[in-house]
């Protein structure tokens, strides 16, 4: 009552200034400039061209220090009038896992102490294709194909209605205009909701800092694709975004020794994938979940 100078407005003003100073103090003083920049880096879709260039330059410098190679980080955008689709012929797949390792080499995945693969080849008893629970992906026979088994390679199915995108609390994963579901590894907080939501087990988590030998690095990378990841980032197949946006086949398509893997533009009536959908018996995995996957398995008919 007696002290009229001490008003409510003044109290709130001094409180908010103190709070701001207190919050920014650890951020601005205790971390280095680089960490500060990383922390304040924007979401990839909200960056301007200038900001993208700065981030790319920073990452290229960092990768050079880490791997001793000059990286080419592309931020190429989706081409117009394109929706990528994939075809895989189950009657020809022999389960040799060539695609698994071609993918790992192309996409700079961790090699050991948490080995990370984007393709999982399931082995199923012949005539038992719908019971994926009975599948085995650690099979190791002398030679393949084995009698009485079929092989079903599974990777990210690039759903048109992706459950992983729906559950991401911070929009770190989204669908590109050409249908590829991309991840901004820098934006990802590692909550792994998307891993739980994916019905195909298409996503993998980096539990530790990835182990990528220097001489096995692929330096031609895309920001949303195969650039080396960090601990706590979720990653997955991107249909080799760095290759297909330049019109090249994905690495798994080129590696398959039986030519079971096909790739093309679903909007182009003359593409290989459209030929398959129009003329072969195709099915999609777990179609009943309404994920509208763009990965078509087919049989010789």
């Amino acid at each position: 009552m007696s002290n009229k100078n001490y008003t409510r407005r003044g109290f709130i003003r001094s409180l908010s200034v103190t709070a701001l100073a207190g919050l920014s103090l650890p951020l601005l003083s205790s971390c280095s400039r680089e960490e500060r920049e990383d922390f304040l880096q924007k979401h990839f879709l909200e960056m301007t061209e200038e900001e993208k260039k700065q981030v790319i330059a920073k990452l290229e410098q960092r990768y050079f220090e880490q791997y001793g190679r000059k990286f080419q980080i592309s931020t190429q955008e989706a081409l117009p009038e394109i929706l990528w689709g994939y075809g895989l012929e189950l009657s020809r797949c022999i389960g040799c896992r060539k695609c698994v390792y071609a993918c790992a080499n192309e996409n700079n995945t961790s090699r050991y102490t948490r080995q990370v693969h984007w393709i999982r080849v399931l082995r199923l008893k012949r005539g038992n294709l719908i019971n994926l629970e009975d599948s085995e992906h650690y099979y190791a026979p002398e030679t393949v194909p084995e009698k009485g088994f079929v092989y079903l390679p599974v990777q990210c199915q690039q759903c048109q209605n992706p459950p992983c995108v729906k559950v991401c609390p911070i929009h770190a994963t989204w669908q590109e205009p050409d249908g590829i579901v991309a991840v901004d590894y820098n934006w990802c907080i590692g909550c792994r909701y998307c891993i739980a939501a994916c019905p195909y087990k298409g996503r993998v988590f980096n539990w530790a800092e990835p182990n990528l030998p220097k001489d096995e690095v692929n330096p031609n990378v895309h920001y949303l694709g195969n650039r080396p990841r960090m601990k706590c980032a979720v990653e997955k197949c991107t249909f080799c975004i760095q290759r297909v946006r330049q019109g090249r086949y994905p690495a798994c398509v080129e590696a398959c020794p039986t030519g079971s893997r096909k790739f093309g533009n679903l909007l182009d009536p003359k593409s290989e994938i459209r030929y398959i959908i129009e003329r072969k018996r195709v099915f999609r995995l777990r179609e009943e979940l309404n994920t509208e996957s763009k990965f078509y398995y087919f049989f010789e008919s």
Binding site: G87, E89, I94, G95, C96, R97, K98, V100, Y101, Y112, T113, R114, Q115, H117, R120, H137, Y138, Y139, A140, P141, E142, T143, V144, P145, A208, Q246, G247, R248, Y249, V253, E254, C256, P257, T258, G259, K262, F263, G264, N265, S271, E272, Y275, I276, K280
Partner: protein, 177 residues
Amino acid sequence: MELKSLEMQRTLRAFAIILLTMSAFFSLALGAGQEFPVPPPPFTEGIFPCSQCHASMETNRKKRELKDEHTQIRMHHAETLRWCLDCHDAKNRDKLRLYNGELINFTESYRLCGECHGNLYRDWRAGIHGKRTGSFMGTGKRTYLLCAHCHDPHEPKFKRVTPEPPPFRPTDRRNVK
């Protein structure tokens, strides 16, 4: 003076016409020869051209076991019905022979395979059977493998292969620090 320039014009025009027709002819001829961008056929090293040995040899059309040369070839491709000279031309050994007698290069061998395997040939032409690498779009180099790059034409059934190692189990010591 005028006469000379007229003559010059005429010769120039003639040259231009000749050049044009030649370029058109060559582009057509090349286009016909290169229907699909195939890599060189998978010959055993030093074996092609076949005529370097066969030119001086007499043609023996009798079906027999080969003892002196080509002993590594095992025939498992409708062998009861077939013999070398059904596909290889007897007179020109550097060519393959279609059923109608047309001679084709080894780079076009898919036409020969397609004579029996019509449905697979149809799919191969569309890029479904077989394998394509490189660029499927744009100006980059593209490669369409021949039938013979994957299937040995003499015994086309795929042999069993050793698979790549399985992924580490979560409890594998290579996966756990």
